[in-house]
């Protein structure tokens, strides 16, 4: 029997043997497999491993044998140092949302449209974001040096006839000093988000409002800001999640000190995990932080689940 030539091309005899469907399935499996293995092994499995260890009193030597149920969680939640670290994270979040984000919105609306040299400003403002956190921390430690002969900021304070401030060693100041560095480092990133958001707003809308007699402020408040709400949503989320997991800057500059004054959740976990080797206790802290991130992400998605004006998403 002769095979039908038309049918032959359809089946594509060069790669015969496997049906199209089987090949599709093979592509799916082959493409997903390597990433899934790495992801499951290093991201998902550790969560379960950690949940397991978090119920043990385990110092990391030998196997974990002393199961103490939820005792670690109880101890963490009543530990005043942990409470302090949560309060500090909340303070950082609030300061970011109240100071950093509005400033980023205002500056980006200034640069956004037609200001000559705006590309240059964007490049400059974004530069700290790409510097490593270690280097940023050390740069600021030089500036914060308590000795006015050495530290730039105290030098200026003295030149202005003011008293010096022991930025990183004063319990009342240190968190604020850390926040300044965070702002310096991440301000440009948020500005970049707003610049992109602004570029997506058609200028016609604002033109129309201006025609109708809206002044610049009204235009900004009633037109630009609502249209930017999608970007604001993202920026707030990034800011909060970033603050919850803040570690390197704090660890390099203060190690959470003095006397836990700048302790954040991640430094607390690192201290118990890698300095005191209380692996069970540290695991419980990690799980608590993970839950905080999950709960925040899900709640935030629920709360802000209003379609964006521009994209409808």
């Amino acid at each position: 029997m002769q095979s039908n030539p038309a049918q032959a091309t359809l089946i594509n005899p060069k790669r015969s043997g496997l049906s199209r469907k089987t090949k599709d399935r093979m592509v799916i499996i082959l493409f997903l497999f390597p990433a899934l293995v790495i992801f499951l092994l290093f991201v998902i499995y550790p969560i379960f491993r950690s949940v397991y260890y978090s119920t043990f009193d385990w110092k990391g030597l030998g196997e974990a044998t002393k199961n103490i149920g939820f005792e670690n969680y109880r101890k963490i939640l009543i530990d005043t140092v942990f409470q302090k670290s949560v309060v500090n994270v909340v303070i950082i979040i609030v300061l970011s949302l109240v100071l950093q984000l509005p400033a980023a919105i205002i500056l980006s609306t200034m640069v956004a449209r037609d200001l000559p040299g705006r590309a240059l400003f964007r490049t400059i403002f974004f530069l700290p974001y790409v510097l490593s956190e270690v280097n940023a921390a050390i740069m600021w430690m030089l500036l914060y040096n308590p000795d006015p002969e050495r530290g730039f900021i105290n030098g200026i304070l003295v030149a202005m006839g003011l008293n010096t401030v022991n930025w990183l060693a004063d319990m009342n100041i240190v968190l604020f000093a850390v926040f300044i560095v965070l702002t310096w480092k991440y301000f440009g990133f948020h500005m970049l988000l707003y610049l992109t958001g602004l570029q997506n707003i058609p200028t016609e809308i604002e033109e129309a409002a201006r025609m109708d007699g809206a002044n610049s402020f009204q235009n900004f408040w009633y037109i630009t800001l609502p249209l930017l709400s999608g970007t604001i949503k993202t920026s707030v989320q990034m800011s909060v999640l970033g603050s919850i997991q803040q570690f390197i800057l704090v660890w390099v500059m203060t190690k959470g000190g003095p006397v836990n004054a700048s302790e954040v959740m991640a430094t607390y976990m690192y201290r118990f995990g890698f300095v005191r080797f209380q692996f069970g206790y540290g695991s419980a802290v990690a799980i608590i932080m993970f839950l905080v991130c999950v709960i925040f992400s899900l709640l935030y998605r629920k709360l802000t689940n209003k379609p964006d004006y521009l994209t409808g998403l």
Partner: protein, 289 residues
Amino acid sequence: MQRIIPTPRWMRKAVPRVFQYILLGITTILIFIPIVILLFGSVKTTGQMYSHPYSIPNPPDWTNIVNILSTPSFWGMMKNSLIVMVSTTALTVFLCALVSFVFARLEFRGKNWIFNLFTVGLMFPINVAILPVYFVLRQLEQYGINMIDSLMGVILVQTAFQLSGNIMILRGFFTAVPKELQDAAYIDGCTNFDFFWRILLPLVKPSLAAIAALIMIASWNDLLVPLVVLNSDKLWTLPLGTMQFQGQYSQDLAIISAFVALSSIPTIIFYFFAEKQIVAGLTAGAVKG
């Protein structure tokens, strides 16, 4: 039509402009102060650093820079950082491209389930996960797989935690490629693999460059994973070395400045070359994430 004499156009524009430039100028100065003081400090002697801590170095003294550049350990760290960065970037881009293609272009049962699994990674950042991950590395070590104190461990952990975010970004880019292209390719007898390899990948090269730039920066700057995984100083990466160096010479501000400046310069140079890609990747990531 009747008109009140208007403010001249140039003035209406120029006055707010001046105000804008002043504000932006102040911000620019605030951003540059730490960087400039660091760069000044890096070309001062220790003596100059004490007598004129924040003035322009006059004359510049290159001793510290030269000394650091002539220590083999600095170049060792540079080499380790490069190995980690290149491997992590190559591996992550490769894996993310495969996965994103499947998510963006193919249909199969359980797709949503697997996709949601990857989104868990967004809520479990490495700073939170580091201790749990360390347990797994130790466990692998017990099975004879060398993960602790090896660059391989750093590379795999960095890759694993880069997957989620970059898959989301790339999936967005891949979905934007018109569906018609895929249909046309299939009619011409392309298999899924052909379409992915010969048509899609060449088309999305700019997107791959964008996520590659982001991964390179994240990997190059990463301190936490090397800090936990690496013990022997021969394997230290640049940020880890910088932190140790700062601890060791904490009194000699001049030499610390030189070291930090030298370890920042690769990032700054890279930034000026790849700004477009970095910005494209970040904004796409933020919108999709």
